[in-house]
Symmetry: C2
Subunit: 325 residues, 2 copies
């Protein structure tokens, strides 16, 4: 058994410059870095630290030396399957790396929905010049954010100059940090959700996938929204009852939805969601790391946490595995 | 000939409440209001003031009593056809009514293009779950605004929190009013356009249709942009050489374009633009008055100008018909 401290990185998406950056910075802290080539995970048995997705955990690899797993995903639910990650291993996630990209995606979905873009584009594909399809505006709309973390706050920043009538944040505590306070007109706790929904034109969801968020938006709550309302979900698929959403859309209970995350991913080919009326689907690509910024920010967060870890300090983004965040 | 002062309104799109608002406010100033029903223009021969589109001018109606024509469009080029509007008639337009809606549309086109939405949606229509198509971000992009009027300024406000590297305004004078100065990192004059284009990732165009703007973006200037650049045009179709744009897109000279306005509208069914690679088409619907806000704002501007007119003051938005703005 070697005495070297090894970091194993499983992120095929990284560019050479980013790999070299990790090698150099980790080297200064006394670590060697190995990278997975494809799915072999060669050398991962020596790793004290793994940085990447959860695939290695189900590869059968012996990870006896592992002390810290840093997920390259913001959501860590894939790591919380009982028995997958050995008990004593610290788990952290890349929350904070995705806010910019996902908020941008959320703004795109919001604008496409509110301006009736999918229907106009269907006409354009058929060379039909028209402007009789009605549309609305963010201007004067009441926006509710379910989830006020990194993604929610970045979305609130971006939607503000579109002059919505109000921006309401909904979270567990009814509070946000001082640095984000000015982004919202008010923050309420989750138990006030049923009172807020009837006064919501745009419901933007960026919740993590936990037991608490499971189907927090069900058919009953969708029916509390006004008929002109849109739901945008860029968090996790578990937080909406997907069948109820599709049924509600078919029955015009609300005006539309823009959904990047699903209960089962990839969305099965025979899933009725594909053809649901007024459902704008994207394929969990909001935070995809093809965006340079997202990839670099992801590495930056890992290296920041690594500095703390190497000093023996607690990993800043460590997750309470019992509650999932 | 009656002695009453008549305002004739040709805007089928108005809702009852908006019509009543005009009747009430104009009544206070001593005017009677008539509304066109369809294309008959009954009673328009009595009008001292007309508010609406240019259709009545080519209807053969005698408009001897007309003193002021207030266009419900922001662009007044349709009114400037020689011989159409009698010589002494004051002409004004609805500039200022469309900024909010058109800037929102422009932001939608920008996000759809930069996130590769049309290609992802083509896959989604075929039930293909994928995230291998690359995309980019407004974050860190260099934005250039050709035209810094109402629409440009509203767009600048909205794109700022997406954290572009820079926002450069281009206009005739190289200056903007103090109230809009903070929206731009710098303002340059049109003669510096060729120097700015190579440093532009997103070119947003909101120019009026004048001789000066005619094909201001031609094939040579498109080629000055970086390969990753996008052009968005929500101003007037004359300001881009449309054939050169389509050719450039087919040859990957730039990454894409989002175009709401065309040289000929409606875009002819056999126009090659419909099928041009990486060209996202909308059908001159950016400022469409189905948006309540746009309609109400349009009426509000007319009533504000009417107050000045009724006092014998110059109409605030009056256009120099020789130059077209």
């Amino acid at each position: 058994m070697s005495e070297k401290r090894v970091i194993a990185v499983d992120m095929d998406v990284l560019r050479e410059a980013e790999k070299n950056n990790i090698i150099e910075e980790a080297g200064k802290l006394g670590f060697e870095v190995i990278f997975s080539g494809g799915q072999g995970f060669e050398g991962f048995e020596d790793a004290e630290v793994i940085y990447g997705g959860p695939q290695v955990l189900s590869s059968g690899k012996d990870l006896d030396r592992l002390k810290w797993f840093h997920s390259s995903y913001a959501g860590v639910n894939a790591f919380l399957v009982p028995g997958l990650l050995p008990g004593g291993v610290v788990l952290s996630g890349s929350s904070g790396a995705f806010g910019v990209a996902i908020a941008e995606h959320g703004m795109m979905l919001t604008l496409d929905l509110i301006r009736n873009m999918p229907k106009y584009q269907e006409r354009v594909r058929n060379r039909i010049w028209s402007h009789d399809l009605s549309f609305n505006s963010i201007y004067g709309s009441r926006v509710t954010l379910l989830g006020t973390g990194d993604i929610g706050s970045e979305y609130a920043k971006r939607i503000r100059p579109f002059c919505p009538e109000s921006i309401t944040g909904v979270n567990r505590s009814g509070r946000v940090g001082d640095e984000n306070k000015d982004l919202y007109d008010r923050i309420v706790t989750s138990d006030q959700l049923d009172a807020v929904l009837p006064k919501t034109d745009i419901l933007f969801m960026s919740l993590p996938g936990t037991k608490e968020t499971d189907r927090i938006i069900d058919g009953k709550r969708i029916a509390l929204l006004p008929k002109n309302a849109f739901i945008i979900n860029v968090g996790r698929g578990n937080s909406i009852d997907q069948k109820a959403l599709c049924d509600s859309l078919e029955k015009d209970v609300i005006a539309g939805a823009g959904i990047d995350v699903f209960e089962t991913e990839p969305l099965p080919e025979n899933d009725p969601a594909w053809d649901t009326k007024n459902l704008l689907i994207t394929t969990h690509c909001a935070g995809w790391m093809d965006l340079d910024f997202t990839r670099r920010k992801n590495v930056e967060i890992f290296l920041e946490y690594l500095k703390a870890y190497s000093k023996g300090d607690p990993v800043p983004g460590a997750i309470d595995r019992a509650v999932g965040y």
